[in-house]
Symmetry: D2
Subunit: 303 residues, 4 copies
């Protein structure tokens, strides 16, 4: 099976792919949000799809692009619930939230912008034990920056922190590449497989997974770009449905290796999309990690 440059598991197979052995797909709708769960169960299916074995949940809601407040609230609530389900049960050890990506490159800044709005509490337990409410859970966060800015690989920095703070789980936030233009700013993927090499807008060099870090790694991300080559390929497929797969593959390959190879398609209003989605994801993170605090208490503590 041909592998397509997308970070969304739900886009990694064609329409027939749902019936593929070792892959389970479920669709449903809730509060105006469309949810798709893809479970990759076998190594064979993993190789065929180019996606690690595990669970991939995608929540889609086109209305959030229109900045609809109800849609954003529904998205944040559902995402928070799914996140809470994937995270390991309670414990005293903190959850470490990692915001991947480059703050200075807008389509790669979703992770750092989400970290800015995440409630961190770990220091209160250590330094202000009287202030730390017993309903509060320990959370710490980091936007490790990018290699060219620090000279330190994200993986090294996360490993160093894991050795120091000994978290019970890691939650990574990242900007993704998608195949369908319509998913930019409207779809959020949540997975228990962590971060894989080559994925994300920044193209991570090494994996951040339970295997490499020794603790569960949940990853959440939103598509912010499409590769220009993929866009062109899919446009041609739509417009000339009778073009042979091989010809389409050749087109995509030629574009990828040509002058446009590194070109990404992104909406002009990407600044606004990133800012809005960082708000939705941070709200979900705060709810999932602080189940016993109200939204008002979380807001008050962040200010």
């Amino acid at each position: 099976m041909r592998q397509i440059r997308t970070d969304l598991a739900m886009e990694s197979f064609g329409h027939g792919g749902e019936g593929m052995p070792g892959v389970h797909v479920n669709h449903w709708e809730e509060m105006g949000v469309s949810l798709t769960e893809v479970v990759v169960e076998t190594e064979e299916a993993s190789r065929a799809l180019g996606k690690a074995v595990g669970v991939y949940m995608t929540l889609e809601c086109p209305a959030i692009r229109q900045r609809d407040l109800d849609a954003r609230l529904a998205m944040a609530n559902l995402l928070g619930e799914e996140m809470a389900r994937m995270l390991p049960g309670e414990g005293e050890a903190p959850v470490l939230v990692i915001g991947l990506g480059n703050r200075r490159i807008t389509p790669d800044s979703l992770g750092p912008q989400t970290i800015d709005r995440t409630l961190v509490t770990r220091h209160m337990f250590e330094q202000l034990p009287g202030f730390a409410d017993e309903r509060m859970r320990s959370v710490c966060a980091l936007a490790p920056g990018v290699l060219g800015v620090t000279g330190i690989e994200t993986m090294e920095m996360v490993e160093a922190l894991v050795a120091k703070v000994r978290p019970r789980a890691i939650l990574c936030v990242d900007s993704l590449a998608a195949r369908a233009a319509g998913r930019i700013g409207t779809a959020i993927q949540l997975t228990d497989t962590g971060i894989q090499p080559g994925s994300g807008v920044g193209n991570h060099r090494r994996s951040l997974t339970r295997e490499t870090l020794g603790v569960p790694v949940i990853a959440v991300g939103m598509p912010t770009v499409i590769y220009a080559a993929t866009l062109t390929r899919d446009a041609m497929e739509t417009l000339s449905p009778d073009t042979a797969e091989d010809d389409l593959d050749r087109v995509e390959q030629e574009l990828l290796t040509g002058a446009q190879g590194e070109m990404v398609v992104t909406p002009r209003e990407i600044d606004e999309i990133i800012s809005d989605t960082a708000g939705v994801i941070a709200t979900a993170v705060n709810r999932a990690l602080q189940p016993d605090l109200s939204q008002e208490e979380i807001m008050a503590m962040m200010s």
Copy 2:
């Protein structure tokens, strides 16, 4: 002749277009920069190309995308010289520099970012006459913002200012849409035709020209986006050279009216490209408008 969605006059005709009646095209190279001058001489040619009658100069230098310092300097020098040639001769009245576009939308922020680095001097003549060096020329500048932020049309604000400061010329800086991906961040266009309705990344609603404002209007801009539809069309043309023009037009049209209609292709590193080019254009503007000051004096006065 088919009109293509590009703001660069040099891209508005095919290879045969150079021989078109009423259009003169010159190419030459200088200091590693490739210059193309397109002169649209007749109303007929204007209608055929979708470009106003006047002179369009494009300077191209791929090395500035690699952030080559020599290339940036060469570009700034040549652009400054051409700008000086297009501007009306000296006079006591100020030149008004207008930075079009939206500071908050990265690919549309070239104008405001250039204004930030333009040396303004008009207030020194009026308020610090002793401080104003006799070699200094009067310059004022404005980034009028966008309609949704001010409720005031750019044209209205410029008209109001023209009535107040009575400039001898206007210099507009804007982000453009191009046809060829390779021109983003590497080509700068200078024209004496001003700003036309529908042009630029922000799609201006009304024209800013000598006709509407009563003073010469020079416009300078760099492509920061390509319409996704255009990218796809051109990719298909390259890959299947035997596709009929009509089919390509149909493809582009379908894409423009589909979900991707508003999609623009922009490099991921657009933040950096805009910042670099604003520096190049501002250097050129400062040299063109202050021919008797050295680069060191200009820098010292801006700090």
Copy 3:
């Protein structure tokens, strides 16, 4: 009477000043906010206080520095009501909101930051008449920047715009200097006297008043700085209550003319204070200018 460097009318007289002829002072409390209305009625009182004839309303609420949400809401509501009372009755002509100050100098950026969150509607009436709800009032806004950046005086730019958009009133937002440290970030002053020369953090050069512009000018501002000289003088007065007035005046004068002359005292967290207060003032402005829209409608229209 000694004149003190403060932009708050309520600080321009000592404890005995309330009984001064030609000045009326009222205090009351509402929703946890303390309100002080100073009415300067005669030219004589105006000269003595260094404040123009007119009404000055100050709303104080220390809790907003603790980022208390209820306090911010109460402040925004009361400020909006007082603003509505000062503004001239309805009409088709727009209200023009002016954000004074320099976006790049944090304590001077309250005006521009407020403009960013003001709902502008004027363009909808002109261009989208179908979209403009009949309950909507016409509003336009501008942050004119500062002289060193534009070469154009604020007064010139406002005059030019007034001639163009013919507003029925102007609302100016500015950063102020106060005398008491405790008022930074907690007090907001509203006045129908407009902006006076020498006032504000940026020290305006010319007045923006009904006399100079021909339409009512309402000004709203919050103290963001204290002059270091004033702080020292007042500290000395507190600590040595028996120091003669003349000695204190001499101290202040020596400090003002010394190396610290231009020094302002500002809390370290001024970035946060400005951002919060811009939100409070913009909420008040939007309510005062759009009395028939709900808070939800205003938010939806701004996104």
Copy 4:
């Protein structure tokens, strides 16, 4: 001896203090920059001054506040030379540059802003061995953020990184508090004593020193604030030279514990001062850490 709230060793004693046992002070001038070296040699002197045993070098040049280019260059050159002298000899292990402070609070953002302009190379040795020039030295950098944003103490994060990257030295950049207003933006202190608890604008909770981290720690910083209490005390001392020390101490103490306790005095143009000084310090850091690369090579590699 009374201890004064300043981070500059040269301000921690009065005029008589230079003759104090265990303290050596040298003054000289070079290229328009005034240098003061304070060597605290004994534990006794350390306790008396409230400064750790070690060397403190201060470079002062009022002209850099006027943004004089020559002055900035002289400062960067001299600072780079002194830095190189304090750093341990060459080696393959990297130097780790730490930018302390809060990016969001202007007067506390000197460290993060300097990191943004520091050339990092460590990743090139590990991943692009062919690209790494043999003249290049290994450097990595981090702006660890602040506790309230990450939930992780700066000290913990630095310890974790030290264990991971095993640097041969650490160079910390921080915003300082000074006693004299004239030193804000004009004086830079360099010391081999690292960072002490309670120092800096952000008031660090734990020390970053050779003792706690196991490698040499050099600290460089510029004053960005003065405590309002100190300013007032010193103003009173200047104005009433016959006031008893005890009365002045009482004044400072009362102010520190009053409503103004946390107030800091900072120039209104602090945004600009921080940006300029970050440029000067980063230039010095890059020269000290890359002695075999030219300034042009460093600039080219950073772009």
